[in-house]
């Protein structure tokens, strides 16, 4: 039982990573906590789930289409709303919160109140038996995909020109502008990328969590806690934070189901007291 619980924890950690990596990048670069991030996760799940269930689109194609749709949605928010409020962080936060409420109501209107359950792709259904333990194949696949995406993101940030520009923007946006980087275009790119990751994560998570009204505001605090834990703008921070929270949440659900949400509080308290910038965040100047 412990093995399966550990696998579930890592899987959930992988989903959290897809959610929080984008959140952390957006926050690191734009200084805006994107409160629509949970909504993007849910929207991805709904769009992907509908494509699979109603239109019989293959799972992975549906996941990519959902990611693209959510990315476009993110782009619209960034271009037409956040950009007009540039410089006023509070206004930007409140606008993302307002949009999150609109999306949650809109989804309820379109997809109704019943949970939308999505089947895992047939090739990955069932389990694999190894070393006398039963491994659900789909969950293993989710872990591998999250690791692959983490590696790609890391390579993108660390090895490419775009990554270097993003890092420059995170470190010092004014100076990055001075040396000729179009920081506002980076904002759009990063926002769309973060939205796409969240939407993709929503589809990946659908066979495990199913998609239901309220998923958005259930996931959003998890992303916040991961980023508070790992440090804003830090990819390793998101990864470690996601896995820690994945373990605490899943073990909490089994061991103290009534307080599962509450014990997420503990690592956050520890980190805030001992290291307020987060495990991998840099100290404030």
């Amino acid at each position: 039982m412990w093995t399966i619980l550990a696998i579930n924890s890592v899987t959930f950690g992988g989903l959290l990573f897809l959610l929080s990596a984008g959140f952390s990048l957006i926050f690191g670069l734009m200084r805006v906590p994107n409160l629509t991030h949970g909504s993007m996760f849910m929207l991805g799940g709904y769009i992907g789930g509908s494509l699979i269930a109603t239109y019989h689109v293959p799972f992975w194609l549906a996941a990519l289409l959902a990611a693209a749709a959510v990315a476009a949605f993110g782009g619209v928010i960034e271009r037409f709303l956040l950009r007009r409020l540039a410089g006023s962080v509070l206004a930007q936060v409140l606008v993302t919160l307002g949009i999150a409420f609109i999306v949650s109501d809109f989804s309820l209107m379109v997809w109704g109140g019943d949970p939308l359950s999505v089947d895992a792709p047939r090739a990955l259904a069932g389990g694999t038996r190894a070393l006398g333990v039963f491994f659900p194949t789909y969950r293993i696949a989710v872990i591998l995909i999250a690791v692959a995406i983490a590696a790609i993101l890391w390579a993108m940030l660390d090895r490419t020109r775009l990554g270097a520009m993003i890092r420059a923007g995170v470190d010092d946006p004014e100076m990055a502008r001075v040396v000729g980087i179009r920081v506002s275009r980076l904002f759009t790119i990063v926002f769309c990328l973060g939205a796409a990751l969240a939407g993709f994560g929503g589809v990946m998570g659908a066979p495990i969590l199913s998609v239901y009204p309220g998923l958005d505001f259930a996931m959003l605090p998890l992303a916040l806690v991961v980023v508070i834990l790992g440090g804003a703008g830090s990819l390793p921070g998101s990864l470690v934070g996601s896995i820690v929270i994945g373990f605490i949440y899943n073990f909490g659900l089994v061991m103290v189901p009534q307080l599962a949400y509450f014990i997420l509080f503990l690592p956050m308290v520890l980190v805030l007291v001992l290291r307020p910038q987060g495990l991998f965040g840099r100290a404030a100047p």
Partner: protein, 327 residues
């Protein structure tokens, strides 16, 4: 000044006479609700408008008071004991909220309060043994001070109005005091305040405690009015509503959050007759207010009345958030 006093007196008379000129028990009950939410909005705006700290987790404190009251009453405590316990527990909870969220300011503060508020929601929803989970807790009785039964809507309204008047008066004294001035100082120039020898952290912490006390009072009144509490009271929307009230009415003023609370509650009650879902309207109002009327209704109207055509000063909350805070 005299005109101002006369206006306040007129408003007091009108408010006190609500049971006479407002028809029907339902509408009187809505007026009680407006007063309760006005206290809650003032609580949130003490932090937004005067300390430059935006909390998105205040429903956690509001519902902590409400749940403590409901649980204590359910366990057979008397009304005074239950109210005292609700206040004490909420102040303790506020101290934890403040100690954690004041590790940062600006956006970090928003994120931590949001996470803490959601954790309170998680407790309300999941800790079924204590909170009844989704079913919530019903509270059978309202208190009867001096033998006057508050089960009558107009009596309950007058009692709420008395609490409200005390709260507004104390709020006024508080923000006009030297402490209030130092609080505004920490909002505008935290570094200078620190250099002048003020303990910025302690000032913010104290303001948070006062804010928590107001939220607790509102939460207690809320449970007595509704005679019921359930997890949506602690949800993120419930934290966002007082923020919207404060910002739409005019943050950093006393009248602003009160007007905002009245507007939001009236719109909510009218809208609920036509649409079943309030969230979309709430979200859209948020977007519209922030995009087009960032300074709020009350300062905007006062500016028009003063016929000031000078450059528009930024809203205190927006200005506070604009100051760069280390992430």
């Amino acid at each position: 000044m005299i005109a101002r006093r006369a206006l306040i007196g007129l408003a007091a008379v009108l408010l006190a006479a609500v049971p006479l000129w407002v028809p029907g028990n339902y509408d009187i009950s809505v007026c009680s609700e407006i007063l309760i939410y006005a206290i809650f909005a003032l609580s949130v705006d003490l932090l937004i408008g005067f300390a430059g700290l935006v909390s998105l987790g205040h429903a956690g404190l509001f519902s902590l008071a409400g749940y403590t009251l409901a649980v204590c009453l359910g366990a057979g405590f008397g009304q005074p004991a239950a109210i005292a316990l609700a206040l004490a527990v909420t102040l303790a909870g506020t101290a934890v909220f403040a100690a954690l969220s004041l590790r940062t300011t600006g956006v970090g503060f928003i994120m931590i309060t949001l996470a803490l508020g959601q954790i309170m929601w998680g407790l309300a929803y999941r800790w079924v043994g204590l909170t009844g989970g989704d079913n919530g807790i019903s509270v059978a009785s309202r208190p009867a001070p001096f033998g006057i039964s508050l089960a009558v809507p107009s009596h309950f309204y007058e009692a709420t109005l008395i609490v409200f008047a005390f709260a507004v008066f104390a709020y006024r004294v508080f923000i006009d005091s030297p402490f209030g001035a130092s609080l505004r100082g920490t909002r505008d120039q935290p570094r200078r305040m620190s250099a002048l020898g003020y303990n910025v952290w302690m000032i913010r912490f104290s303001a948070f405690m006062v804010s928590g006390l107001l939220a607790a009072i509102a939460g207690i009144l809320f449970v007595f009015r509704a005679e019921f509490i359930s997890p949506p009271t602690a949800a993120l929307t419930a934290s966002a509503e007082p923020v919207l009230m404060a910002i739409s009415g005019g943050s950093g003023t006393i009248l602003g959050p009160i007007v905002g609370a009245a507007l939001v509650e009236i719109v909510k009650n009218i809208a609920s007759a036509y649409i079943t879902r309030w969230n979309m309207l709430l979200g859209a109002t948020f977007v519209v207010i922030v995009m087009f009327m960032p300074e709020g209704l009350v300062p905007g109207t006062m500016r028009l009345m003063r016929r000031g055509f000078g450059p528009r000063p930024p809203a205190p909350a927006a200005a506070a958030a604009e100051r760069k805070t280390p992430p």
